[in-house]
């Protein structure tokens, strides 16, 4: 048995190394893709490939200043943010699907996105980004998400226990309510309607080294902590009682996982609006590829989510250049057909 598992763990480690290398290559390749090239529409001009290389290795003085700004201050932070956000959403999706034992669960299922939307609405409509500072919207979105999750948890629990089904339903109910609030705010808004609508569609255009720094610290911390709960998640997907019989304190594990998962998903949403499907389909894809054991599923999904979102964003910002398609549309375009395929597959399985 020991040999069997050692072989298995070796296979897992190799898979993770493979994914890391894919991520690395993705970073390298996508940094050359953009509106001004080298790969891309090349409008109004095209940055030569050599320039990209030189800038990355520190020889940016050989090329005009704007090149460096574009590569290092616009593209690179954006790609890194995409990686972090994709990672956060995928991991959060794995956790939600595990806790709720529901394949339709995603990071936003307990009302997180609706809460963030309300927070962002308030910030945008009150023009707080002008008066307080440009981080007012991310901050309020984060606060909105956090308060909503907290509120849902409080409402759903009874006598210190929280049943997964109750939490889910409460989250959906409150989420719907808050979405209605957001719709109302959008309706009453005038000039700011556009901004709010755009925020809701999700996009990585606000990426900067500052945002990357904040996102990096919060998201990486959360992902690492969640990894330590892999065994707990394995037990929890067997069912609430089987997990308890295996010694898992399901009540506190659920609490901790929901908090941390909401933290990383909330951070992601705060900076990029609501990007759907990454958190929903990445776990499913990886489960088919590497199996349901969370010790591999969590890190593999983290890396896969990063890769997926980087590519989606790259397509979003170059395919109709100079216009940018909201990345949520690209992820949905890829996500929806795959989702249908998944449903068909599970229907066949059930027969």
């Amino acid at each position: 048995m020991k040999i069997y598992f050692e072989k298995k763990y070796l296979k897992w480690n190799l898979t993770l190394i493979g994914l890391l290398m894919t991520l690395f290559f993705t970073l390298i390749i996508t940094i050359t893709i953009g509106s001004v090239g080298p790969i891309g529409s090349g409008n109004p001009e095209r940055i030569p490939m050599q320039a990209v290389w030189d800038i990355l290795i520190g020889k940016s003085h050989l090329w005009p200043d704007p090149y460096k700004t574009i590569i290092m201050d616009i593209r690179l932070p954006r790609i890194l943010l995409a990686a972090l956000v994709g990672c956060a959403l995928a991991v959060s999706g794995v956790v939600m699907q595990g806790i709720f034992r529901n394949p339709m669960a995603d990071p936003f299922i307990i009302g997180l996105s609706s809460g963030a939307a309300v927070g962002a609405s308030i910030s945008i409509l009150m023009g707080l980004s002008i008066s307080i500072g440009i981080y007012s919207t991310p901050f309020l979105a984060f606060v909105g998400a956090g308060l909503t999750v907290f509120g849902v948890y409080i409402i759903a629990r009874s006598r210190e226990k929280v049943r997964a089904e109750t939490l889910l339903l409460t989250g959906i109910a409150i989420g719907s309510f808050l979405t209605a609030v957001t719709s109302f705010l959008m309706y009453m808004a005038n000039e700011q309607f556009r901004f709010l609508f755009f925020w809701l569609l999700g996009g990585l255009h606000k990426a900067s080294w500052n945002t990357v720094a904040i996102a990096f610290s919060l998201i990486l911390l959360g992902v690492v902590i969640i990894q330590f709960f892999a065994r707990d998640l394995n037990a929890m997907v067997l069912g609430e009682e089987p997990a308890m019989h295996l010694g898992i304190d399901t009540v506190s594990v659920k609490k901790i996982l929901i908090i941390i998962s909401s933290l990383i998903a909330g951070t992601a949403v705060a900076f990029t609006g609501i990007i759907g499907f990454v958190g929903l389909i990445t776990p499913h894809i990886m489960r088919i590829l590497v199996g349901p054991n969370h010790r591999i599923l969590l890190p593999a999904s983290a890396l896969a989510g990063a890769i997926f979102l980087i590519w989606s964003d790259t397509i979003a910002r170059t395919i109709l250049s100079p216009t940018e398609i909201p990345v949520g549309i690209i992820t949905a375009f890829c996500g929806a057909p795959f989702f249908v395929y998944l449903l068909q597959k599970s229907k066949k399985g059930k027969r």
Binding site: M1, K2, Y4, F5, R101, F228, F229, R231, D232, N234, A235, V237, L238, G239, E241, P242, M244, H245, L246, G247, I248, D249, T250, R287, G291, P292, N293
Partner: protein, 414 residues
């Protein structure tokens, strides 16, 4: 290891599921828990494993489970549910390894010892060849063995099983229970298993608890608990308790006959039978509202037993002997009180030839006699060819011969 349950009660919202449960189990004892649906059996198990929080105490070697964490309890108690629906494609070995969860810290990985325990658990449950298979591809019996292996990997001192064989076929049932029983005896663990099947409970349990409406109705050795009175009280059915021919434990044979409380107003039919041929006749007659008597029957004959169970007046005779004069007289007395006589087709030998003669006596008293002759006389004639003679004489006296029981009944009813 001593498991002590004292004054345990559990209510779900306002309805009381369990009340005043007290019992003890020692190491190496297989305790069976039985009871009708809704008597609280599964709830009891879940209270012991501390998944539910009951009132009262559950003491494991003197320590109350209430103060202990789920992890500590999982090191001592393993639980095997009725079915396991695992929608994810875990392999068998991954699942069994999960049984080590309570022994592993969050930041540690598995040790050599952990793997050894998994090996041992899989060996005991004979699933080593399945280790790389996906769980949901297995058969019902294999799945249960995997779940038991997982529970065993916890190194439990107490194993709780909730109707572990209810969805399995008979060979799987025995396989699983034999396995658990061996574990109980060899590893000296306490096994508490809920049973649906009274006989399986009786076969495997050292002690039994019979629950009814949340309370312990009876507790003790199978002999004490499995009585027809208890079964009648709890399950409202009639049952015969026999001894299992091999291991002498009580064996419950439920009676499929609906007890007839109606006062029999019809005429009386005396059935002369034997060798099991009389039982359907008695039942048919009783179902049709007739009073029945019978005789003479060997007390070991199944017809005799049936008659006793039907509560029909019957004349018995000690086995392996000729019909005595006393028995014969008693038989004739019953015949005289009857309105009809039916003779079923039973093997006739020197020992019970007098029964045939008794039929003749009935005819002398003008009581109609119907003789059922569904097969040829030769086959049941052990009287050196005398039976045919007797039948001829009976026919001359006025006996009616019919082909089967239904016709006999028709004759009686008209």
């Amino acid at each position: 290891m001593l498991l002590k349950i004292a004054d345990l009660s559990f209510s779900y919202q306002s309805s009381k599921i369990l009340d005043d449960i007290t019992f003890e189990v020692k190491s190496g004892v297989f305790l069976g828990v039985m009871g009708p649906n809704g008597s609280g059996k599964t709830t009891l198990l879940r209270c012991i494993s501390n998944v539910l929080s009951p009132r009262g105490t559950v003491l494991i070697n003197g320590r109350d489970t209430k103060g202990q964490s789920k992890k500590e309890i999982a090191k001592k108690i393993g639980f095997v549910p009725q079915t396991s629906n695992i929608d994810f494609e875990f392999t068998v070995s991954e699942l069994v390894l999960m049984g080590r969860t309570p022994h592993m810290g969050r930041f540690k990985s598995e040790s050599t010892y952990d793997f050894e325990i998994v090996d041992k658990a899989m060996k005991l449950t004979n699933i080593q060849h399945l280790s790389e298979r996906a769980f949901d591809e297995l058969s019902g019996g294999e799945k249960q063995r995997v779940i038991i292996a997982r529970a065993l990997a916890q190194e439990p001192k107490i194993l709780l099983l909730d109707e572990p064989t209810v969805h399995l076929d008979i060979s799987c049932q025995l396989e699983i229970l034999n396995l658990v029983k061996n574990l109980c005896e060899q590893e000296r663990i306490i096994v508490i298993s809920v049973f649906h099947d009274l006989n399986l409970a009786s076969q495997y349990s050292n002690k039994l608890i019979l629950l009814n409406r949340g309370r312990i109705f009876s507790e003790g050795f199978p002999d004490k608990v499995l009585t027809s009175e208890n079964i009648r009280s709890i399950y409202q059915i009639e049952a015969i308790i026999k001894r299992h021919p091999i291991n002498n434990v009580p064996y419950v044979i439920p009676f499929l006959y609906a007890k007839n409380d109606k006062k029999m107003k019809g005429p009386t039919v005396h059935v002369i039978c034997g060798g099991g041929s009389g039982t359907p006749a008695m039942k048919l007659l009783l179902d049709n509202g007739l009073k029945v008597t019978c005789g003479v029957l060997d007390v070991l004959d199944s017809d005799f037993e049936a008659a006793r169970n039907f509560k029909i007046p019957v004349v018995g005779e000690i086995p392996f002997s000729q019909i005595t004069n006393e028995s014969n007289k008693a038989n004739i007395d019953l015949i005289k009180k009857a309105d009809f006589v039916i003779v079923t087709d039973f093997p006739v030998g020197p020992g019970n030839l007098k029964n045939i003669e008794a039929a003749g006596v009935a005819l002398d008293f003008n009581i109609p006699v119907t003789i059922i002759e569904s097969s040829s006389v030769y086959q049941r004639d052990f009287t050196q060819r005398n039976l045919e003679e007797y039948f001829k004489r009976l026919k001359e006296k006025g006996a009616i011969f019919v082909k089967n029981l239904e016709n006999a009944l028709k004759g009686v009813l008209t």
